[in-house]
Symmetry: C2
Subunit: 138 residues, 2 copies
């Protein structure tokens, strides 16, 4: 399976998780001929909107270009949403990090299997509008 297919499958899995927990969610179409910033998945429970950049990794550390993270944050701010990096390491549950709370090295954010992160159940229970302004800051 190509890494693109794996990425799409991971996004679908995340969309299922949101729906099964009472949220709406959808995958965003690839940019194609357009080049606007966009997340991979958008989810909402009517109060909080998450825009999620999804990553998969078979190795212990995932390097994410800071440029991608800046784009996600820009999109989220304009949309009025909470940006999240969702990472699915092999044989591990989804973990979610705020872009404002990442370890960086040069032009990359480093996300490790053992990084401190939020679980899926945490993000779907942090669903007050207060978190839109200050995600996970408290």
């Amino acid at each position: 399976m190509s890494s693109k297919q794996k990425g799409s499958n991971a996004e679908r899995e995340l969309v299922h998780l949101f729906w099964h927990n009472g949220w709406t969610a959808c995958r965003v179409a690839g940019s194609g001929s357009m080049r606007y910033p966009s997340p991979d998945v958008i989810a909402s429970n009517g109060q909080t909107v998450y825009v999620v950049e999804c990553k998969c990794s078979k190795v212990k550390t995932k390097y994410v270009p800071l440029e991608d993270i800046d784009e996600l944050v820009g999109f989220a701010q304009k949309f009025g949403a909470v940006p999240l990096i969702g990472v699915r390491f092999s044989n591990k549950e989804w973990m979610f990090l705020s872009p404002f709370d990442l370890e960086t090295s040069g032009k990359f954010a480093l996300i490790k299997r053992e990084s401190s992160a939020h679980s899926f159940s945490e993000i779907v229970s942090h669903s007050s509008s207060r978190l839109v302004a200050t995600p996970f800051s408290q």
Copy 2:
């Protein structure tokens, strides 16, 4: 060009329009293996979120299954967004109708070239949070 391609091109055109007017917007990926309700385009200016079902037509009247409209409304309510039907008749600018204000016939909504509708500039200027609750009702 297939009708699917025409539909995708119309959606891309609409996404461009939103960005060029200071909004964020993206196309939603096709359902593929998933069968959850979803709109074609999601757009936000940070206050109002529109979820748009896009239709194209070469003829004077577009018939839209009421089932599709119910799905859009359900998604919008759960998301906390304003549902819109965006129709692009050949050689005519985009027109936008609220699902709550459609002429119906049997199991279909009828949208005519000459139907009363909102222009693109109207929908991007109706951007107060008040309209989320009562879209175009005033």
